[in-house]
Subunit: 367 residues, 2 copies
């Protein structure tokens, strides 16, 4: 963890200046062009990138190919990318490759591990460019960058939402000593069209579409958990990367579709402990394809009842004071998972082991 | 407190049905017409009601006249109202009238005390009807009623905001056992045009206007405090009324403009303890008149530094389990205020006394 390398945001106006300068940079060139990787897990040709070309082309892509490694994934011309399939992952990580899931989008976290950049943006290949209510195409990446470059406010709720957005500020009664905020670790974006529902809700509401554009970014308060979706997500890899492990899912595992949830619970507990912020809200992407609710139900059903015990565990877990890096926090968390969740299912023993393997792999690739 | 009289919302679909039936009622007549009072504190003629006529006229108004009681306040024809000036308050409460502030909008809480209805909506007389982005006039009261008649979700954050709004639901990963929600005690509405800033921010940003319409209602999570503004506020008086005391402000007091903040801190701690919810977001009103920042600074300056100690107190205070009514919680809180805040200023001893007087007055008028 390189908190000392973070730009210190020492006041609200500094933060605004910082955002302003980030925006000014767009005239000079794409913001964070050399400091951000876009991670995409996929099993198919990446034609969806055509629509994103104006926004993504200046950035480097890390494509994690899931499933059959002999299949060729076509990437549209003009994109700068590296691609890893299962054979690459096995070759690079050796026995530690066991911590990277197969046949599940959880494999995306290999991209976080192999990146050398400070920031990650990850997006699913069924996500397209959404439009704001004025009809303008939304540059999701640009909004994520604004979110992670401005502080978060986890200790007190601001009723006008993110006080660091243009035209907003802290309202009357907001403590002045909390107005500096804290560094933002994660920016969680949302989805128009197909909402991110669980299988039971998909089955009950097959036709529901999310049409409500909520023009807000807000900090998820300290001590509050939320369901983090991996579809449209950015984070500061230097601040929180080692906590963004997407778990053991898919092939050979009793569960799927809980990879991002797992990362979200672990990450939030660690951010709360270390004093980092998590934002949710803008930007929206256009989510085009509802996954099959029957297949989803099969993947999810254990998670649906396990989470009734997992979430109270994460809501009450406390990390000891000596855990002052993300790695130390994560190792401690794996111990607590083993102690407290192995009674739910023996799967959590395997998962606790994999959490340790992940940290070993992280330290090896990020010395 | 009459929690047992609450409509039990036993499932999400029940809640939706409930909202649907609330809306259906609009065809039969105004929703909650005989169960809601509109409380308005004022020192002037209530011409602002003309603009609200289509929305407020069916409801009963309680007008609390602040300042010179010999002055006549003109109320537009056709409104059903009762009006109390300082002489009325002194006559009705006798020596207990000392707990009701004078020359400060904190006097509005007398209206909460004297009401016999289940719900209160309170609004300032410099607040007008706002328009949504489509240009439609916003019926603020109707949105508040929707907010208080549907449950809150304080234990886990839902990324698509209020899951009980039409077109929304709980997202993937939201624990199923938390989807019933809890009864909503408070609905905190926002303001377009003049934002609710403190004096220092008003001075620094005299021209800032809030033009961002955020189409969201959300539950303020358990354990999180927020700055509650009294300008555009509704609550369930049966659930939380005795906690909505607006403190000692204005005439003869060292502080002003912290009446709603005080109520917000106390109310939130008690809602968290008793398992009630607090929503913020929609509806917006159009706030027309920025108060004088110099006058405000004079009223606020003690609050601005006191709050740096008051807020940590409220963030860490815990109420004992035997406090199972709002009154018991509030009496306990007054004891804790006396013990913990009297070192900040002797004013808090007087305030702790007034909190007890308020509860005595409440019990007398609401046997």
């Amino acid at each position: 963890m390189c908190r000392t390398q973070e730009i210190k945001l020492s006041s609200h106006s500094t933060a605004l200046n910082h955002e302003a300068s980030a925006m000014a940079n767009t005239k000079l060139g794409p913001v964070l062009k050399d400091e951000l990787d876009i991670v995409i897990p996929t099993i198919r040709n990446l034609d969806f990138l055509e629509m994103w070309r104006p926004f993504f082309q200046p950035y480097h892509l890390i494509i994690v190919q899931d499933g059959d490694p002999s299949k060729t994934i076509r990437v549209p011309d003009g994109f700068d990318y590296e691609l890893y399939n299962r054979m690459d992952i096995d070759r690079i990580l050796g026995p530690k490759a066991s911590c990277i899931s197969f046949k599940d989008s959880a494999c995306r976290c290999f991209g976080y591990l192999i990146s050398k950049k400070k920031y990650i943006f990850t997006i699913d290949d069924d996500c397209f460019v959404a439009k704001d209510p004025s009809g303008k195409e939304i540059n999701a990446l640009e909004q994520h960058i604004k979110n992670v470059l401005t502080p978060s406010t986890p200790f007190f709720f601001n009723t006008l939402y993110d006080p660091f957005r243009e035209g907003a500020d802290f309202v009357r009664g907001y403590p002045f000593t909390l107005r500096e905020g804290v560094p933002t670790a994660v920016s969680h974006g949302l989805w128009l069209n197909i909402p991110d529902y669980d299988a039971p809700t998909q089955l009950v509401k097959p036709l529901e579409r999310n049409t409500r554009y909520v023009n807000a970014v807000l900090t998820v308060p300290k001590g509050t958990l939320f369901p983090m979706c991996g579809m449209n997500l950015a984070f500061n890899r230097e601040l929180i990367g080692p906590a963004m492990y997407f778990g053991l899912m898919g092939n050979g595992q009793p569960i799927g579709r809980y990879d991002d949830m797992w990362a979200g619970w672990c990450m939030k507990v660690i951010c709360d402990h270390l004093g980092f912020g998590v934002k949710t809200g803008l930007p929206y992407i256009w989510h085009s394809k509802a996954s099959n609710p029957f297949t989803n139900l099969k993947k999810e059903y254990k998670g649906i009842y396990w989470q009734e015990q997992i979430i109270p565990f994460f809501q009450t877990v406390t990390l000891p004071k000596h855990c002052d890096t993300v790695q130390k926090c994560y190792i401690e968390l794996s111990k607590l998972v083993r102690e407290n969740l192995s009674s739910v299912d023996e799967y959590f023993v395997k998962l606790a082991d994999a959490m340790l393997t992940w940290i070993e792999a992280w330290n090896e690739l990020n010395p």
